[in-house]
Structure formats: structure tokens, C-alpha cells
Symmetry: C2
Subunit: 250 residues, 2 copies
DNA sequence: TGTATGCGTTATGTATACAATAGCGTAGAG
DNA sequence: CTCTACGCTATTGTATACATAACGCATACA
């Protein structure tokens, strides 16, 4: 092997996958652009085999698209693709909440969710919310959604939700950040927190339909606000992977 | 290159993927069993690189599971995993039906669906249904579901539904075949056909909620019947990928 | 001047060689 | 007799060499 420097702590495939994902989400690679394997080899430091494995994984993840004649290109998304993805995730999370409610959840399992809820309450007490607090909010919110998903105890569903969240704008953190660009941001967070509270209450009382409904409403709220945020494209540097949105088309 | 025979009509990667999937679904590889790359190379006729790409794709598809220490094993599913997967797909198809209804569908787009419906009606007129007719039914039913999915015009949703159908028992054909083992099979097909009729009617009349509800009911029917079919394990040779079900655990 | 064809370059698809690690078996000692 | 440690083997992870196909450019002919 040449003078290539190898980091043996993580596999080359994973390293390449992370590096490429970073390049895509940071906008270094534009949507529609073909990804050159050779170039990827240079920028990631891995050799062609792990790079190819990473490309296949990223394609399955939905960030890349196979070109019929060979190779991969960065996928481009329309605004509707994005809102559909959010609604899609909301639907799946709704199902997860219903499963949790119908199948029953012990008080012990609900504990971390309630802690999350309380922590978010604490943050929202600040008006206006500080930048640091907002950053904590993003983390806590992601944690809340992840815990809720787990409550379903359904590996196939959890898997699908993870896949649906792979697209950055469809992840809990993603759309929260997008919404933060809106002037009504704080009000929105308060409504969202109310949703969180209701879903836990519904699960506790084993009301599956109500638990499901509130999660879907939660997503619809996100879709509405994302639309607004995309209208007034101010402070949109916070919106992750804005680079993935198709420019002129659709 | 040695005397290896190469089929140049399809890529080696695709060939390997198909061959391996076949081996898994046919039960040649048992759930939990580790897949040896070398062995896969021999049985598929491709070399290690395309085999590895195929393995990664099959993992993303959900048929394989990565082993932490390296390599892949055939994934095993519990009975609940299976019924959850069906309900999951039903939920997604419900969303697709709602999208179709809310966004509007032209008469021309609905045409193929109605043809499908009529063809199935024709088949169901036979009592009892012949083996050939049942086989046609499986194809037509799969086509109906695929067309319905397309009506949503939502690439992200279509993609997710495809993924959710990757597991054979969660695909439209899969659970129809499973249900066929039941004595009430014909009655079930008639109820299912009624669902098909209702969802088209709802889409035509732009009743999103009704379209969604009927698809979910459609899936719940499938879940109930699959449970029954798994109880009386007679004639279960028709059930695809029964081999994937965990034997003793869960 | 425009188009078509052919050749050359470049990138991807495939195969295989090399490296490293994990699992297993055996042997030795307590 | 059992447990531990060492080494071997088998299998995966990685790198690279080779084959092939696609794209572009240049040239020639209409």
C-alpha cells in the first residue's frame, strides 16, 4: 500500500459514507451532479471498493440516484417531495404512537419521555429563547421522537421511520431548524410541545386513535411551517440540506 | 479472467442480487445463517465485488442483517414483525390513496385501475376459483396496488411503499398467497375486492379520509387472515418466505 | 457550415491479490 | 481433567489491476 494514511478506528466504508454524506448535505456536491468515484476516492481517503459500498448505501438511503449508464448522481428534491416526506414520517410516527398506546407501555418506559418533556418545558419558559437553548431544544426534540418511535416495539416500523428520517429535511431536527427561521418560531414550538404532551397522555390512557391523530397533526403543522419558511427565504442558512432542493424545475 | 462464464446481458451485481434473494426466499439459506461471501461467489457466478454490492443492497432491503464482527446473516422475522409489516404497508397505501384523492386524479389515470377491477370481478365470478384464475388474481392484485401507489404522484411515498413491500410476506402477492390457505379464501377475496372498489370510488369523489380508511381496513383484514393462516399451518407451501419466520424465539 | 463518424480518453464494472481479524482447535500446564 | 494461551486457518475488509463501455472531440464529407 502506498503512503495513504489509514484510520483503523472505523472501517473505510463507514468513513467514506460519512464523508460523502457530509459533502452532499453541505452542498459541496450540487443536486443532479454526477459523483466521480475517483474524486470521491481522493476526498475521502478510502479506496474504490469501500467508496463504491458507501455509494450504494447512500443510494439506498435516498441521497443518491443511480445513473442508468453507470455511476451515481446527487438526488434533487422538489418542495413537494420535502413536504411529502415530512407527512410520511408523521404518518409512520402516528402508527408508532398507536402501537404504543394499544400494546401498552409501562410507567417505567414512559419515564424518559416525560423527562424529555419536562426539559423542553424548562427551555420554552425563556421568552425569547436563546440560541443555546434552541440548540438544546433541537437535541431534546430529536430524542423525544426517537424514544416515541421505540415505544412501538416494532422493529419493522422503527426501521422504516429511520429510513424516512434519513433525508435531512425530514428528520425531527431538520424541520425544527427550518421552522426556526419564522418569526412565529417560539409560538410554533409551544404548539409542538402541546402535541408532545397530548401524545404521551394518549399513550398512557391507551387511546390509540388519539395518539395517532396528534402525531399526524404534529407533522401537518411542520409541513405548513416549512412551506412558510421556504416562502420567506430569510435566515435559511439554518435549513439543512437546502442544497438538495431542485432549483428551477417542478 | 479465468474460464468463468459471464452473462453480459445483465450486470453481475444485479445477477448476484437476484440469485441471492432467490436463495434466501426459497429457504436455501436459513434465517440466522451467516452468508459466506466465498460460497455466494460460487453459487452466483459473480466475483466478490459484485457479490458484496448485492449483499449491501439486500441488507438495505431488509432481507439481511449485518453482523458486527463482519459479514451478513439472513434476517429472521417474528410473526408480529410480519403482521406489523403488513399494517405498515397498509398505512402507507392509505396515505397514497389519500394523496390521490386530495390531489385529484383524471378519468384517464383511473382507467387502468378500473380495468384491473373489472378483470378481478371476472375472475371472482368462478366459484370455486380455479388454480389458474387464482394465479391471475395474484398478478392483477399486485398490479392494482402498484397502480394505486402511483396515483399518489409522490416519489418519496412510492419509494417507501416499495421498500415496505420488499419483504415478501408484506407484498400484495405475498399475503394473498398466504390467505389462500384458508378455507374462507374465496370470501376473503370478495371482501378485498369490495375494498378495491370503495377506494376507487373515494378517490373519484375526492374523499381523502374515506380512501385512506378503506386501505387501512384492507391491511387489517390481511393481518387477521394471515394470523389465521399461520394458526392452521396447512397448505402453507404457498406462503412465500415462510422460511424467514423465526422458529422458536420471540 | 453543419453533421456524422471514428478514434481516443476517461470513468465505471469486474476480478483478484493482499492484509488483517476473528474464531477455533490443540497443546501444555496447573 | 479442565482451563488457558497460543497459533493456525478461514473469512472478511481493502486495495488495485484489468476490461469494457460511454462520452467527447476532431476531422472529413456533404
Amino acid at each position: 500500500m502506498a503512503e495513504r494514511e489509514v484510520d483503523r478506528s472505523v472501517s473505510q466504508t463507514v468513513k467514506a459514507q460519512l464523508a460523502l454524506r457530509d459533502q452532499i448535505l453541505s452542498g459541496a456536491l450540487r443536486p443532479g451532479e454526477r459523483i466521480s468515484e475517483l474524486q470521491a476516492v481522493e476526498t475521502t481517503g478510502a479506496s474504490r471498493t469501500p467508496v463504491r459500498m458507501a455509494l450504494v448505501r447512500l443510494e439506498e438511503e435516498g441521497l443518491l440516484e443511480a445513473i442508468p449508464s453507470g455511476g451515481f448522481m446527487v438526488k434533487a428534491f422538489s418542495e413537494r417531495d420535502i413536504s411529502d416526506s415530512i407527512e410520511l414520517r408523521g404518518t409512520l410516527e402516528g402508527l408508532a404512537a398507536r402501537f404504543a398506546a394499544e400494546r401498552g407501555v409501562s410507567a417505567r418506559e414512559l419515564e424518559p419521555l416525560k423527562e424529555c418533556l419536562a426539559a423542553i418545558d424548562e427551555l420554552l419558559r425563556q421568552v425569547p429563547i436563546s440560541v443555546d437553548a434552541f440548540s438544546s431544544y433541537v437535541t431534546l426534540n430529536a430524542r423525544f421522537h426517537a424514544l416515541l418511535t421505540e415505544l412501538s416495539r416494532s422493529p419493522p416500523l422503527i426501521r422504516q421511520i429511520d429510513r424516512a428520517s434519513a433525508l435531512p429535511f425530514a428528520s425531527p431536527s431538520g424541520f425544527v431548524m427550518a421552522q426556526s427561521a419564522l418569526p412565529e418560531a417560539q409560538q410554533i414550538l409551544i404548539i409542538a410541545q402541546e402535541h408532545h404532551r397530548v401524545v404521551i397522555d394518549a399513550i398512557e390512557n391507551r387511546e390509540g386513535a388519539r395518539a395517532e391523530a396528534v402525531m399526524r397533526e404534529h407533522a401537518r403543522l411542520a409541513v405548513r411551517n416549512l412551506r412558510l419558511a421556504l416562502r420567506n427565504r430569510t435566515h435559511l442558512d439554518l435549513l439543512p440540506a437546502l442544497a438538495l432542493i431542485k432549483t428551477a424545475t417542478d
